[in-house]
Amino acid sequence: MSGPASVAIPDSPLARMHPIAKIVGICSLGLSTIAWPDFTLGLFFILVLFLTAATAHELRPFAKIMLGFGIPVTIMLLFIQGCYSPKNTKTILDLGFAKMGLEGSLYAAKIVVTLMVFLGSFYLTTKTTYMGRLVAALSQVGVPSKVGYLILASLNVVPQMQRRITVIEQSQHSRGLETGGNIISRARAFIPLLGPVVLSSLTDSQERGMTLETRGFGIKGIRQTSYIEVQWRRADTLFTACITLLFLLVLAGSILSGMGIVPLGIQWGGRA
């Protein structure tokens, strides 16, 4: 099972995968992209991630986040690195006010795909993993329960603060504070909310610490157990082995390519 019924995670091979296997996947894809001499492998991984998102029924939000992040970052980096990188020797586009160089553009493309591979794989992992499963899996491999708690508590901070803002906003609104209207009046109404929200969040975290201890959290000499069972299946072993092997092959290839023994990646010309 990928999570409780109340948590909307559509069933898919990715959702069923062990969270640790997914973490290995994120690391392998990201590091392989970094190791590869140019952006092409990263581009291929992005394509694979889009296909994976489709099988996980997450294509639309995935595309939204990837394009929403990818397009502006690509434009910005291409402009900065492409036009102003000191490595530029070969001009590929004359914009009039500046000349776009090949080396800077390739470097920008490499950065963009690397960021997008990390972002995409991390996004898919969080969207297809019930956080309780992730923490249970982490504690299974010996990660201290306090680290697991930190992860869960951090993920819960934003929704809790949102709830708190709604309550305080309603309370202020009922006492005559105008919270609607145009963006300026909304911003003006929002500023007085910040104090109570921050203060009450601090009080909440203090009380939470108190509660946790009265429920045995942090007790010494006991290995904590989890209510959620996370099984490591044969498919997880296969996936982890393949993705690790892929990274090792990419790493070996990149080293050999760097030494000039095996030509790897496309020869784009220029100095890069």
Partner: protein
């Protein structure tokens, strides 16, 4: 009988506070008894509860004097987590009882068991038992933060007694429940008590205190002003000086006395009141 709780000359003043929240408080609670603490707001009841579970002095910073012992262990010399094996607290505000890390009610109930390293199979079993007892079966898969105040109170209560502490401290733990729900919780508490669990309860419902308590302690401005059986406390003429109300049955008895009826003793609960009135008819 052995003592579950022993408090000797315990005083506590919160940091930066002008006066002490607890002033030379002394009392003992026998194992397996039902002990109630009553008093007006600000009397020091919640501070005392915090002192019993170790939050005072480990969590709340201040100046403390005296001794608090839980089953022979000095609270000041152990940790809150260690104490939680023996003593459980249900807070006044149930939202303070949540771990805020559980995605479902089932996980919330199991949180404490996980901290004690209870095997998963036993955890599942216990969660189902408690859910059944607390009428939470339908909610097991829901997020605790999406529940109503009363439902969270049930979860909070369940998550405290699922750990099977030998002492249970209830600090006005039914404030958000309807009368029927509250009654159900107290029936469970009474069952636990008859199975040997020592119960320390802070409550403003005097009828309930009179009905359940073996011993009642009255607090006023951080001091213990009365300690005895419900009959001794509620029939004491100084109750209004202590700032506490008495059960309606006591008021009925006093009314009958002032109307000229000769009562052998004042009724303090429903069964006594029925007996008294039958005797008069």
């Amino acid at each position: 009988m052995r003592k579950a709780i022993e408090v000797k000359d315990f005083s506590f003043r919160y940091r930066n506070a002008l006066s002490s929240a607890l002033k030379r408080v002394s009392f003992a609670v026998e194992k397996g008894s039902f002990f109630c603490i009553i008093g007006a707001n600000g009397a020091g009841k919640s501070t005392l509860c915090n002192a019993l579970v170790g939050l005072v002095p480990h969590y709340f910073v201040g100046k403390s004097k005296g001794l608090v012992q839980i089953e022979g262990v000095d609270v000041a010399k152990t940790t809150i987590a260690e104490l939680s094996k023996t003593i459980g607290l249900v807070f006044q505000n149930p939202f303070n009882q949540l771990s805020y890390t559980a995605g479902t009610v089932a996980e919330e109930l199991a949180f404490g068991l996980g901290n004690y390293g209870v095997p998963r199979e036993i955890m599942h079993e216990k969660v189902l038992q408690v859910a059944h007892l607390m009428h939470l079966e339908e909610l097991l898969d829901k997020n605790p933060l999406d529940l109503s105040g009363g439902q969270v109170q049930r979860v909070a209560f369940g998550s405290a007694f699922i750990m099977e502490p030998s002492i249970l401290v209830l600090d006005e733990c039914t404030a958000q429940l309807d009368p029927l729900g509250s009654e159900e919780i107290f029936n469970i508490v009474k069952d636990l008590n008859s199975n040997g669990v020592t119960v320390v309860m802070v409550d403003h419902d005097m009828e309930r205190v009179a009905q359940y308590a073996d011993q009642v302690m009255v607090m006023r401005m951080g001091k213990v002003v009365a300690l005895g059986t419900p009959r001794e406390v509620f029939t004491d003429p100084r109750t209004s000086d202590w700032g506490i109300d008495v059960p309606d049955y006591v008021k009925l008895g006093r009314g009958l006395q002032s109307a000229g009826f000769d009562l052998a003793e004042l009724p303090i609960d429903e069964s006594h009141a029925v007996q008294t009135i039958r005797g008069l008819l």
